[in-house]
Every structure is written in C-alpha cells, then in structure tokens.
Symmetry: C2
Subunit: 359 residues, 2 copies
DNA sequence: CCACAGAAGTGGATCGATCACATTTTAATG
DNA sequence: CATTAAAATGTGATCGATCCACTTCTGTGG
C-alpha cells in the first residue's frame, strides 16, 4: 500500500498527469484473463465465475482502471448522456435543472447543460450538431428553436418551463392560475384590472396574457389593457407610470414576480399604496418576494416536477415507451401574502357599475 | 394526452430518415477520393487542391455529412469540451456560466455544465470519473471539493464565484469592497455596525466576515457582533429580530442582497425605518434590489468577468501557457441606492462616546 | 470412459475518425 | 525534356472498448 502511494506521489510530482490511463488489455494481462472477460466483468459482474471475478476485481482496483467512455460509446453507439439546450439569459432555471439532473442520474444518464447564445436558429444549429455528433442520446430543448430538419437521428423533446410542455396539459396551457388569481381578486371586490405581460415570444407569456383576457371577459370584469412587458422589473414600473391618473385600476396581475415588484415600486412613485390602493399579484414564488415590502402574493411553481417530467418524457422517447403523464398539473398553487387586499371603497364608486354588481 | 403519446411514439420509432449517419468513407466514395483526403478537408480546407476541394465539398453537402465527434476524439484523445462542475443549490450562477460558455466557444471548446447533488466528496468522485472518461479536456470546479488524488490526467481549475479564485487576488480575498462599504458608511457618520454573514462554509462568506471585523477594528468603530447567516432572506430577518432594543446599531452590512432584504423586512417589523433609522448594504446587485422599497445599496459584481477569467485560466492550463491575470479585481463597485443614508441624530447620542466624537 | 450440453473464456473484427508513411502528381529549374 | 523538390493524395495501422463466432473447460448421465 505504501508502495502504491509512493508511486502515485512521484508520478504526480515529476510528471503531473503524464501517466496514460490503463486500458482493458492491461487489466486483462494483470488478471491473467482475456480482455473480453474483463469487458464482461464491466457489464455484468455476475456473469463470471467467482474465482475469475476476484482476479479481475483485484486488477481493476490495482490499476485504478476506469473504462474509456469515448471508446465504449464509439462501439455501442450510446453515450448514456443527455443534453439540455437552453438560451443564455437572465432566467436560469436552476431548480428545474437540478431536479432534471438528478432524475437523469437515477436512470443511469448524465445530464449535460448546453447554453447557447444567439436566437432560435443558433440553438437549432447547435442541436443538429449535437445530435449528429454521437455524443448524446437525447436532447431536451428549452426555449423555442427553429428546426429545419425533421429527423435528427436521436430523440428531441421540446420541453420547457416556459413553453410547449405546458401545452399538452390542456386548454389553459399552464396559465390556469391566472384565472384563479382573477377570480380571487374579484371575490375581494376588485373590478378593474391591469395585466403586465411577459415577453410575448415565450409561450408562457402569450398564454398568461390570453387567459387573462379570457377570464376578464368571462367574469364580465374590466381591464384597462395589457402592458406588453419583457419579464423585467422595469416593465412593471413602466406599466404603472403609463396609467392615467383616473384609470380606476385596483388590481394588477403581473406575469412574473420581478415585474410585480416593479409594479409596487411604480405605485409608490405615484403615491399609491400597496395593497390599500392597489393589489398586486406576481408569478414564480421567487424567494425575494417573501421579504419584499409588502410581501408579494404569487404563484408557487413546482420547478422540481417540471425538471423531472421533462427528463421522464425524454427517457420515454429514448426507450420507446409511452410518455408518462406529467405531474405538474396539480402542484402550482396560489400564495397569498401582503400585496393583495380588498379594493378601497372609493374604487367601487369609480369603477363602472361597481355599485350594482356589488349587490 | 393521447396526442402527446402519439407524437412521442412516432418520433422515436418510425423515424423517416432511418438511414445511419454517413461516414467519412461514404463521402470519400461519392467524391471519388480517399477517406484521408476527406479528413484533410475537415481539418484544413485549404490543404487541398481547389478542384479536389470542390468535389469533397459537394459530397459533404450532398450527404449532409457531420463528423462523428466520438470517433474523432477517440483517435485524437481530445474532445474540445470542458466541464464545469457545480453543486446543486439555490444559487445558480447563470450569468457567469453564460460568459464562460461564450468564452469557451470562442476558443473552439464546448462547455458542459455538470451539476452534482451531494457534498464535496460526491463532487470529487464525479470529477475523477469525468477526468478519466476521456470525455472532456479540462474541468472547472465551483464550490469546494474533496479530492484525494493529486493527478487526474487533465487540468483541473478550482475557480469559483464564491471561493478560491478570489484568494489569488490578494490579501483581501475578494472581500475588499466590505472595507469600502464600511468606510463609506463611516463617512456618513455611522459608528455602530452589524454584519449578517453568509454561510461560513463558503470562502467568500468567511472572507467577508473577516474583512468586516478587520475594518471595524482598523477604523476604531464598533460592532454589535456578527450574525452567522446562510445567505437566506430569513437570516436577515432573524439577525434584526435578535438585536436588543437599545443596541444603537445604525448600519447593517449584509453578505448578500437577499439577506439585506430580510434585514429591511426585519427592521420594518420592529418599527425601524430604512434608511432613516437604519442603513442597509447588500452584495450581489441582484436585479430585484433595484425595485425593492427602499432600493438596495449593493456591490455590483462583474459576473461575466468571473466566468471569462475562469475559462481563460483553464485554457491556459490546457495549453500549458502562463495563467492570464484576472480582470475582476477592478470591476466590483459599490452602488449607492436608497437604503443608505446618514444615521439619525439620536444615534450619535445613544452611541458610546457619541458626544465627544461629534465635537 | 465417452459423449455431450452448457458455461466460461478466447481471438479477431469492428465502430469512424486521425496519423505516419508511402506514393503519385505537379511545378520549377537547368 | 529530364530532373527533382514540393505538394497532393492514398494505404494501412491505430485509438479502446464491445460483439461475434469459435474453442476450451466442467460436470453429468449412460
């Protein structure tokens, strides 16, 4: 043992990392078996006679052998690796990725995150390269991509926190909670609303806007319009700044927490108090929302489920099994905090037909 | 649901382009040259006679050929890929990664992000596997790792936003701005301070705490103590809640923006107004800080430089060139917003020796 | 003791690229 | 036009694993 250590130490000092990794043949020679036997050992340790297995086991340990995965995947045409391609940007879906990574890991896959600068066509190009390179067994694409080719040779799942994944969940397209929010605010007495929308190039941004408009219509409420934002805090500020003084809005539904925070700041600048004069709802349950003043009502998103579901769908495609049903449908839920309250009494007067409906 | 299933099935099974990806030999045959010539074309298009080049070019295009990178890297023992290993957790350094990815890209490398659940030894194990697998040319490790082996066979750079990278920058270890903050607050008239520290298992958390204590001492100021937090918003709330009523603290230096936000919330709960009664400084320049009420004074961190520098250092190791000097030293800067102001006059009275110093 | 089935082990082909070296073609020169 | 160096191209080996088709063990029943 001390000898092995000494050798290792010297190798590290005199020739740092110059020692080539040992191959399956060297293991075989040391164990006194053929390379095929070692290969069998690697794939199924029980396929060998116990006596043989011990010899191989010893040699593997003595040489600190690790299979060259490049060589392996060249022969097997499988890499046991998945890639997830996403756009660079301010929103890094860390929790989804952590869950995705763990899920992949449990299934014996490594998850590789590839972030691509550039637009949909840059991502598409990267995806095509990746698919044909033989380096991954499947690809998960977040954000929209602009693919020309139909067949990549490996499964591609377009699944995302913001996009198509939600589309399969039903008509409300992952924005169902917007309806809940409005119904809740309505039950508090609010009648005039404003929506600060997210980037309309995101499906989720479009969906939330659509559901907002539908729900306002369905419940016979009023909307002073939709401010087309870009998920930023500034868009929230701007949305409020742009309102006329006598607009009568008492509740704002923002597409995300950051925009909601901007709305609260914009309101303060105009001398409107949240929630006394204006109720604000966000979406994301980002941690800072709990500590904002006032704390932010929001929609808690089960990011872990999103990540898990995405990987499960990709694995299903790879193994040609039917897609599992996603679990996220039930988990998003409203969180009520300080930023929402009943509207001021004066608002009912200002709001059209406020009185009669109050009956 | 049935639709989703159908799509998945079709994509995986009855894939239209059932053909296997074309190889260099097929390209060669179509172009009427040898496979070596095609290989040459791939490496340097100008090494060929124009006439030949055109033939190969045509064949490549016709077959939509893309080299099998697995086979290539098997022969060359290079993958042109870098891995960055980080711990799963709430802090996902998205902007650093984006910059790192772009930098790697420009140097002809792909950057692969590997997030590992588990502690330092789990990460170390993953790093060893990765290094020996032949799949990457170099590894960047974020967060602390617990490596036994000295020699991995490929370069490893332990560079991080939170840790050792900053250590090479000098004695102040990347927390120099803490001194600046305190000096600034001192110049406004503050004399009694509180530090809400970050997780002490992070080098940056330890450094900020150390520099805080050193600076308080050096300037002859007072500290009511250090609250050992964990980067969370709640730790900020708790730090304030734990203060005695008559502590006389007028300025809080938090280790991160989220904790600072918690401090502001905790102050509000006790009826202290920020910044009138209490000044608060954060660190990170997270976007929500700009929209908080009051907006948060903080330290802007050049995350892009951090990412770039890390990759540059790794590339230098790989190419055996001297390490470039990092550029981040000068870029972190203080951002003054609404959460800092001179202390209330009463504070000077409450503070020990306040009167005599006021003269 | 032999035949024989099934398990265990072996040698060599193979994946798709690059590389070293051999060979052919081209261009320059006297 | 012959000579020759340089440039362009071709041939076959190679990387390190798995897989295929054999061969060699091992144990059992007649």
């Amino acid at each position: 043992m001390s000898r092995a250590r000494g050798i290792g130490y010297r190798a590290a000092v005199t020739e740092p990392g110059d020692k080539r990794a040992s191959t399956i043949h060297e293991v075989a020679r040391l164990a006194g078996v053929s390379h095929t036997t070692v290969s069998r050992y690697l794939q199924d340790k029980n396929a060998l006679k116990p006596q043989t297995r011990i010899k191989v086991e010893y040699a593997v340990k003595a040489l600190d052998y690790r299979p060259n995965l490049v060589a392996r995947s060249m022969r097997t045409r499988r890499s046991n690796r998945l890639a997830i391609v996403l756009a660079t940007g301010p929103h890094f879906p860390g929790r989804q990725l952590a869950a995705a990574s763990e899920t992949a890991h449990q299934a014996g896959y490594q998850l590789e995150i590839v972030s691509v600068e550039g637009g949909p066509k840059a991502r598409a190009a990267r995806i095509e390269d990746l698919a044909r390179s033989g380096q991954v067994d499947g690809i998960l694409a977040i954000s929209s991509i602009d693919l020309k080719t139909k067949s990549l040779g490996i499964p591609l799942v377009q699944s995302e926190s913001y996009d198509e994944r939600l589309h399969v969940l039903g008509k409300l397209a992952g924005a169902a909670e917007i309806a809940e929010i409005i119904e809740y605010l309505c039950s508090l007495g609010h009648r005039r609303f404003l929506h600060v929308a997210g980037d309309q190039s995101f499906t989720s941004g479009r969906n939330r806007k659509r559901v907002y408009l539908e729900t306002i219509e369905r419940l016979g409420l009023e909307s002073v319009g939709v401010y087309d934002g870009d998920w930023s805090g500034q868009s929230g500020v701007d949305a409020i700044t742009a309102l006329p003084e006598d607009c009568g809005v008492t509740a704002v539904v923002a597409a995300c927490d950051l925009a909601a925070l901007g709305v609260m700041r914009g309101a303060r600048a105009r001398g409107w108090s949240v929630p006394r004069d204006l109720s604000v709802f966000g979406w994301d349950d980002d941690e800072y929302g709990r500590f904002a003043l006032p704390s932010l009502s929001t929609v808690a998103v089960d990011r872990e489920s999103q990540g898990r579901d995405a990987i499960h769908r990709l694995l299903a495609e790879i193994h040609c099994t039917p897609a599992p049903e996603p679990s996220t449908r039930t988990v998003n839920r409203l969180i009520h905090r300080e930023s929402t309250a009943p509207p001021p009494l004066s608002a009912d007067v200002t709001g059209a037909d406020g009185r009669s409906e109050a009956q």
